[in-house]
């Protein structure tokens, strides 16, 4: 099975992000996990990586509603980065607004749309999707 060496969690709620991290770490498919409390932080890190040609994450789990830079803005900014490696993005949000689901489909980087809470079942679905 494919192993995700580096996964980003972009999520403003500390508890949610801690729980997501714990669930990922219990699964053998995930190696290292990095958390960011909003899109801006993750974007700055990725911009740095793009410049330094450093390690690009394999997967980004992205929340939508966040302060400073929300999920949509992150996606817009992300697409301009021109990273040397393709990164899969999965939206992981508690929004069940159909408009959000539809909108996320318009982003080619977004591979899937999942509702929180992340649990082992959803994680299996993500793994199937990206396999």
């Amino acid at each position: 099975m494919k192993v995700f060496e580096l996964t980003y969690i972009i999520e403003d709620d500390l508890i949610t992000s801690t729980i997501t991290e714990l669930i990922l770490k219990r699964n053998t498919c995930f190696d290292r996990v990095q958390t960011f409390s909003n899109g801006q932080e993750a974007f700055e890190e990725l911009a740095q990586i793009a410049r330094a040609n450093a390690e690009v994450p394999d997967l980004i789990l992205l929340d939508l509603n966040m302060p400073v830079m929300d999920g949509w803005e992150f996606l817009d900014a992300f697409s301009t980065l021109g990273l040397h490696k393709h990164v899969d993005v999965c939206v992981l949000t508690s929004s069940i607004d159909p408009e959000d689901i539809e909108k996320s489909n318009t982003y080619k980087d977004v591979k899937g749309y999942f509702s929180k809470p992340l649990d082992d079942d959803i994680l299996d679905k993500i793994l199937d999707l990206l396999a």
Binding site: I15, T18, I19, I23, P67, I96, D97, K116, L118
Partner: protein
Amino acid sequence: MNYLQQEIQGSQEPKNKIFDFVQENSLDGLWYWDLKNPDNTWVNTTFWKSIGYDGEHEAERPADWRTVVAPADLAAVEAQLAACVAGGTSNFTQLVQCTHRDQSAVWLQCQGLIMRDDDGQQERLVGVLLDVTKEKIALATAHEFATHYSTILSNQSVYIIRTNTAGNYTYVNDFFCERFGYDAKIIGTSSMDSIYEDDRPKCIATVMKCFTEPEKPHQVILRKPYRDNTVKSNHWEFKGIVNGAGELVEILCVGYDVTLLVENFEKSQHLLEVTKQQNARLQNFAHIISHNIRSHSANLTSLVRFLQEAKGAEQTAMFLQMLKTSTDKLAETIVNLNEIVTANSNAHQPRKPRSLQREVNKTLEALNVLIHQNSIAVLVNIPADVTVHVVPAYLDSILLNLLSNAIKYRSPQEAATIEVTTHSENEYIVLSIKDNGLGIDLDRHGAKVFGMYKTFHKNEDARGVGLFITKNQIEAMGGKINVQSKLGNGSTFNVYFNEGV
């Protein structure tokens, strides 16, 4: 004696032959009355033919003609005759109505000539009769048409006017005059003068269409002051009137009052707008519930499972702490939601007058410690007599929210200032709270500044409900709120208190 008369006089033909020819071919009947002996009155066959009989049988009963002439007309002929006798004149004319064999009316124009003997005694009446029924009917029809159209033109509910190509009135109907308080003097004046100024371009555009397409009616709604000075909306149909050469000479305008329709339309538009806003708020609310309650409940579920699987006291303690944080946040969310529901459902609370200056100063006093700690310069420039009518609890909440935001999002680099001013704008009293703080990137966040759970800065205690509640409260009081801001240059929040309701 003219040539024709000489010819007839000199003709070898017997006089009667010419006479018969003329009377049979040019007349619709002939009367011959013996005035001295009234029984010897006579009508010719043509007369009978004119009213549908063959004339052969009737000739045997010469006096029968009296039965087909309307008695009143016969009396009139006799009266004319008497007048001629009395006045010594010889000629008269009288229109007589006869009854056709098929019972329809036949109108005969009678030219009478009284013939006298050598002593001047009346002897005979000769009456020549011409059928004028067609003309009579045509006249009656024309009259009927005229009455019909004049009824339409002056009817009680449609304005009918005509203007020349320069836009001056050439005709106005009574109803138009009556409703707008005009009289005949308006003819020749400009029709544009009394139209609501904003609507004049629309009117001119419609007239231009009449020039390009005169054969088609062109519609427009124009406002115009009524005679009681209220403004009425009228729906008009303009149509060009072209002359024989195809040139537009006049414009015919037919209009009616649609004020009520327009008002109702505007009312329903307004209602739609209100409903739309309410719906958007409800949807926002539903999403927030779904988002926030769901995320907390999701976290709780996960944490409980982690707790069950926890290895060792340290892990248990960590999960318990997280569990506590989660339940606290859930409780806080519910408090927030409750506050929002309250703001939305108490729209009809009684409104009381409040001095803005006093209320602002009161709020600033409550925030005094923060203001001093951060050495913020606060300038309040509100005249003492500015009063707004508000739900007092809402005003407290609005002021506290906006002023504490101005403090919270101050610039770390500059000496913070807050300026509070008022001005009036139409039916509103506008309160402006201006800071030189962080500001908001409105290009990025403009659409959601007043949305629920939207926070724009990394601020630990930002709940993302303050501005949402503020907006709900001011809207519940018929007002509105907007923001001018530039990232790094501070924000100005303008609160519009509606004093018109």
